[in-house]
């Protein structure tokens, strides 16, 4: 176990963490803002990659490939939203149904389980081959960081609009929202489309980075996304009250997830156990707030500080 091996893997971990951080922002929109655990994303992640790679292979330019991926993701989110709002299927189940059907769709898009692209031949934005020895503006860390910033800025603006407020209200209290004239069904569909569009963007970047699209790619994506959301919140929530900064925390959560991931592999953990470990970590962090409420008495001081914070925010 040579520490320099680990250090050499850090840039890769950061790049992957940033890409998954974008995915986690999508999860944040459904899980935290809309209060829906949307499992569509496992399928959408792979769909984003598949659409992007196939468009590139068929001669479309890189921006077209990325936009195509985002549109495909939004369509997937729309299907889940309509299953939920038009047919009354509980959102978790609606997401599972879309996710399962996307597996077939992704196979059809790719024509097989996997498609590789030669990242030197195509004009890709991010590639793991470019972590070293290229000007900084071609470095995948720099490029994905730009994407992260753009996504966060757009969402920060959007959630400050009347429409964005309606979306937040829908997740908070749907009854009250309808009483205030908000079409909660439209908002849920919109939120799911927005979220899955962002997830597909992440999938498209990941496929370029890996140089391949794979139907298996999104398996367990929701758990990684949740892990990033929760790690970011646990570590940074005390500091960050502003919405944009919270989204930054989510991305930091993604980066930390991948640094830990690489470290655990470096420590020699059986790679077969990684998904089990991820799920366990998420389960523990999801459980902490509940256990805290049940067993820890809040100190009066911290409550007063909290109140003061939110008054000053």
């Amino acid at each position: 176990m040579d520490i320099s091996t680990l250090l050499n893997q850090m840039p890769g971990a950061v790049a992957q963490g940033l890409i998954w951080g974008i995915m986690a922002i999508g999860v944040y929109i459904t899980y935290r803002v809309l209060d829906i655990a949307d499992l569509t994303v496992d399928g959408t992640m792979a769909t984003g990659g598949a659409v992007c790679v196939m468009l590139l292979i068929n001669g479309y330019s890189m921006p077209v490939a990325i936009i195509g991926a985002v549109i495909a993701g939004m369509l997937a989110g729309m299907i889940t939203g309509l299953l939920h709002t038009l047919l009354g299927i509980p959102p978790i189940l609606a997401g599972i149904l879309t996710q399962l059907s996307l597996y077939s769709v992704n196979l059809k898009i790719l024509g097989s389980g996997n498609q590789t692209i030669n990242t030197r031949k195509y004009d890709v934005l991010v590639s793991m081959g470019e972590l070293k020895g290229v000007p900084f503006y071609q470095n995948p860390i720099f490029v994905t960081a730009i994407f992260v910033i753009v996504v966060i800025c757009v969402l920060y603006w959007l959630f400050g609009t009347a429409m964005g407020s309606a979306l937040r209200a829908t997740g908070n209290n749907p009854n009250m929202s309808r009483a205030q004239g908000i079409n909660t069904n439209t908002m849920k569909v919109f939120g799911l489309m927005l979220s899955n569009g962002i997830v597909a963007l992440s999938g498209a970047l990941l496929a370029q980075y890996d140089g391949q699209a794979d139907v298996q790619k999104g398996r367990g994506a929701i758990v990684i996304g949740l892990a990033a959301v929760i790690i970011g919140e646990v570590l940074l929530s005390k500091l960050l009250r502003n919405f944009a900064l919270r989204l930054c925390a989510v991305v930091v959560g993604g980066i930390i997830y991948y640094i830990v991931y690489q470290t655990v592999i470096w420590l020699g953990l059986d790679a077969d156990l990684l998904k089990l470990l991820s799920a366990a970590v998420v389960a523990i962090f999801l459980g902490i707030p509940y256990l805290k409420r049940r067993f820890v008495r809040p100190s009066i001081k911290s409550i007063m500080a909290q109140e003061e914070d939110s008054t000053n925010a």
Binding site: L158, F159, G160, T161, A162, M163, G164, S165, A166, R168, A169, G171, N172, N173, N175, M176, S177, R178, A179, Q180, G181, I182, N183, T184, E307, S310, T311, N312, A313
Partner: protein
């Protein structure tokens, strides 16, 4: 003006739990009317208000508000006519959003919610003034999350939200006395067409 004509509502039809909650109910309220509906538990008071609010469609009969037949209109579209104060003080506000954001939501009731700002500077001053009328000190806590307020404070806020835009009809389900907000001394309910209150 509100007109309920011969409305019916049956819960769990054709099952052993079938319950005819509203049976051939008709009611006419004119502008300026103030009506208090009193009845025992399960009499159907909440069901009547839910029928007016459009939480679900009535099984028969028709509902007209201000000359508009709203019988088939979904809840969110009827909202432009109605101010609503729910029985449960937690129901009328968004706990995870702050006081001014809640008021801004209410100020846009019945209007299109596009990509304009969710709250504007000028609105804040107006909200501060109106909150001050409640005399609960909420005007100094406009960025406090509503979830941190007491039931009574939240109910008072709900009432303010319901009347921020003059509703054609105020539907108010009263809560047990300890949770009922202290009536504001300066009355901001006056300009309302008609209101219905149940207890």
């Amino acid at each position: 003006m509100l007109e309920l004509s011969n409305i019916y509502k049956v819960f769990n039809p054709n099952t052993v739990n079938e319950k005819i909650a509203l049976k051939n109910l008709s009611l006419t309220l004119n502008d300026g009317d103030f009506v208090t509906v009193i009845g025992g538990n399960g009499a159907g008071k909440s069901t009547m208000l839910n029928a007016i609010a459009g939480v679900w469609r009535v099984d028969a009969g028709s509902i007209t508000i201000d000359g508009v037949d709203v019988t088939a209109m979904p809840e969110h579209r009827r909202a432009k006519f109605l101010g609503r104060v729910f029985q449960d003080p937690m129901m009328g506000t968004a706990a995870g959003m702050n006081i001014e954001e809640n008021l801004a939501l209410a100020a846009r009731r019945g209007k299109s919610r596009g990509l304009g700002w969710g709250i504007r500077k000028a609105e804040r001053a107006e909200y501060r003034e109106k909150l001050a009328m409640l005399e609960l000190g909420l005007e100094n806590r406009m960025t406090t999350k509503v979830g941190l307020l007491s039931g009574g404070q939240r109910q008072a806020l709900t009432l303010l939200m319901a009347t921020l835009q003059r509703p054609k009809l105020l539907l108010w389900t009263s809560t047990p006395p300890p949770l009922t907000p202290r009536p504001p001394r300066k009355c901001f309910l006056s300009p309302i067409g008609s209101s219905t209150r149940t207890s």
